[in-house]
Symmetry: C3
Subunit: 371 residues, 3 copies
Amino acid sequence: QNETDERALVKIQDGVSLQRDTLFLLNLRLRIQNRFGMIVHDQQELPEYDARVRRLRLRLDGYLLSPRIQYYVQLSFSQADQELDRSNTPQTIRDAILYYVFSEKLYMGFGQSKLPGNRQRVISSGSLQFADRSLANTTFNLDRDFGFFLYYSEKFGQQYFNLKSALTTGEGRNAQITSTGLCLTARLEWLPFGKFNNAGDFTEGDLELEKTLKLSVASGFSRNKNTNRTGGQIGFPLFERRTFTTYITDVMAKYRGWALQAEHFYRQLEDPITFGPGGEVAFVYKGQGFAGQFSKYFIPGWEVALRLATTKPDRSIKDVATRFDEYVVGITRYLRGHRVKGQFNTGYVDIYNSLGRRRDALVTFQVEFGF
Amino acid sequence: QNETDERALVKIQDGVSLQRDTLFLLNLRLRIQNRFGMIVHDQQELPEYDARVRRLRLRLDGYLLSPRIQYYVQLSFSQADQELDRSNTPQTIRDAILYYVFSEKLYMGFGQSKLPGNRQRVISSGSLQFADRSLANTTFNLDRDFGFFLYYSEKFGQQYFNLKSALTTGEGRNAQITSTGLCLTARLEWLPFGKFNNAGDFTEGDLELEKTLKLSVASGFSRNKNTNRTGGQIGFPLFERRTFTTYITDVMAKYRGWALQAEHFYRQLEDPITFGPGGEVAFVYKGQGFAGQFSKYFIPGWEVALRLATTKPDRSIKDVATRFDEYVVGITRYLRGHRVKGQFNTGYVDIYNSLGRRRDALVTFQVEFGF
Amino acid sequence: QNETDERALVKIQDGVSLQRDTLFLLNLRLRIQNRFGMIVHDQQELPEYDARVRRLRLRLDGYLLSPRIQYYVQLSFSQADQELDRSNTPQTIRDAILYYVFSEKLYMGFGQSKLPGNRQRVISSGSLQFADRSLANTTFNLDRDFGFFLYYSEKFGQQYFNLKSALTTGEGRNAQITSTGLCLTARLEWLPFGKFNNAGDFTEGDLELEKTLKLSVASGFSRNKNTNRTGGQIGFPLFERRTFTTYITDVMAKYRGWALQAEHFYRQLEDPITFGPGGEVAFVYKGQGFAGQFSKYFIPGWEVALRLATTKPDRSIKDVATRFDEYVVGITRYLRGHRVKGQFNTGYVDIYNSLGRRRDALVTFQVEFGF
């Protein structure tokens, strides 16, 4: 109508928001994770340091034309986030997805985003209670992919059901022209005792101090057809394409500051090992994995947490695969929920491979800071 | 004078604008192109998918000190935009140019920007009516370069003339220390029937529904001295430096929803083939190219478009070069002009080289989303 | 309390500021350096061009929760800034550091930032009076690193003392898991005649026209244990780890538009040369360096400056190292302090190595533009 209609409402609450009625919303967020860690190998004299900017991300999300048409973009700039510790090709785009919201119960997405895989992977790296996700997650998680996503929720009494599914390329973030097989992922979540406060089924630790027991039990699978990477969407290149299925079951429970979460992975395929022209080996990690975390949150913002995780390679890859047993204790001081916190982790990893056993002890101090 | 003078006017219309009088303007824009395409090769059993974030860009432009001193920065983050499908060196900066506006008729630029080459290349990738530019454009366009740019406009009655010129390094975006030859580009545009509405001579399709016929005819050349890349500013490295000239003629006409555009390329040089130490070949595509598009726009926002494009290598490179014939039909649904739109393209490309003919059929669904 | 509490104050003065009371501040800044330079080699017929976007940076800084908890993030996107002229791994993050301010006199940092090394390196590349830093700086500077930083200031009468120290990984920006030795850096600055106006001890040229003589004398060292790069935090990989110490002394004086700055480097280690398996050589530049600059600033914004710089390799590396003598004259037109300026430099570099002497003459025109 007149020029004031174009004026924006600028708010600062969680990040910076620029809004114009129901026509436009942009939330801007920045997030930094700085870490100083030490790794002591039991068969090596001197320790290594893991000291660096672990994550640095810029997020832009909101809506355009109508709150039904939403966007979500996340850019990452640290070396580890860009996967430059593994390859020469930087992966700056983590998320770039458009959503259309049909109703409160149903929305779909088109673009690049996290697959509805295991809970810990779907939880933002800014909402973890340890500095890193578990090694079972590292071995079996589905990561991000490009394609179509469909989310549906239903309520029966105080019970909630969430159905999450995706049809994607199967070759992960920022793939180039990709080949013939797609990937189908589906996951069903059941919340028998009502919703978690503040979406706590997707943040670690019970910072909300749930007054009644809250529980989410979920199960799903992802079938990746003709992928060319060892982990499907992630990992090193395979020498021959493989089709495999990953089955995931996980649970999250919270009550009065106590939180328990656990997840189980099972990856199944025929013939997991591929051979290169010179006899090199690249294989899919067929087998199982388990991770469990248990924590207690104390007012005004302290938390103690314990993690156990393990991976168990299938017999068919026992000569080439590595088995991990992970034990970590974490103490976290939350200053502004998960947004600003200091984390201290210590523990060790037993690594079993064809050469025998090695134990790495780890101490990590990490600061998460963001708005 | 007092603190309120430092306060900014925040507007949201096309993007987000932060303004302080005539002293400062920053426009912030974000743009995403997500695509799900399928390519069927006639000599291959299984199709390939072209499914990815094709473009993701952040633009910052405005003025500082005075509206005469302008800046324009565009960053790109997708793999294809960063040229990571062709090399290991990411090209994040697309544009980084400073302008000084002498008068309404004359302004100059210093920095990295698009060369005044063929019309379709100068049209923003966010204002195209197909998901990609033509293969003739791919083969012969001048892309971006670094140097000095000069733009001059003159009016005689209702006729407009635009003279656009550039003196640049000739070695393209983000080159390192570059060698001896520079590149001179010039282009003259003639608009005999007045200006297009809303700068429509540089957007595809007649979304403005021009009430009278509008026409722009343009011609220009670019002489690139001692370049070391097959396309001058773009392409693979040559084994020996070459000097060549590209001649471009193009036309755009719009009337009542109908739009016609066409462009012709002619690239001329002596001795287009260079040989590497092991007999490898890298060559400049000497020859001609043509692309034509024809479209009709319907209220409230539908468009049907047809494209024909072809390239014709010169006899001197007929043993090494590939010839393309491209046929595409496109249907576009515009939701907010070119800013938010859905595109459906289908067509095929005939590819002729020394091995014979191959036909690739393509189907592409693309969403453009930006503010 | 109510929604207006979440509203931000948007100011535009130096950059764009978004503020909410003492709870939140975000300053956003953008900076571009475009350059057109020519290099004439005395033993080569044709000149080379150094024409490109030299620097393009985005800065986000401010505080969160309290003005005591500060953050500083700087991203860089040009090829040279990302070190893509030397490697395939882009280095987008320049700074990502969190500060805790204990008092006016004491604050500490955790993250990635500039080490408290030589003054010219610590001065922002946006506050230099020449287009580039000196070749002595290039050879001996400490660059950035990741770790803990501690800054302490004390005042005795009109004398100020600044003690700056850092404990870092010693392997530079964005290193991966790093090895055993850390790096300790310390520096003491003495300002006998009071503070410089507008923090002028860390900008080049006397744009503030100091009414009384201002002086800063500083000395420091950096001991880098078991580094694997030729320059410690920067440079090419070494074939064997080395431990070395760099001693730095510098001075800055300003009075009525005159500015003098000088710095001396001395790098000391045993056995500076390392050999690769095929006999290749990578070495630490053991030896000395000196750089001096002298300038006069004239109202309304002109400056003339002169630079002399030299490096002197130690005898132990005289067969492999290069010696530089640099002579440059610069004329700068400041339009808005260091933020918007045009720079013209001309001079030459004498390069002495085992092949003899070469002279490169340089002419550079550079525009710095930022807010």
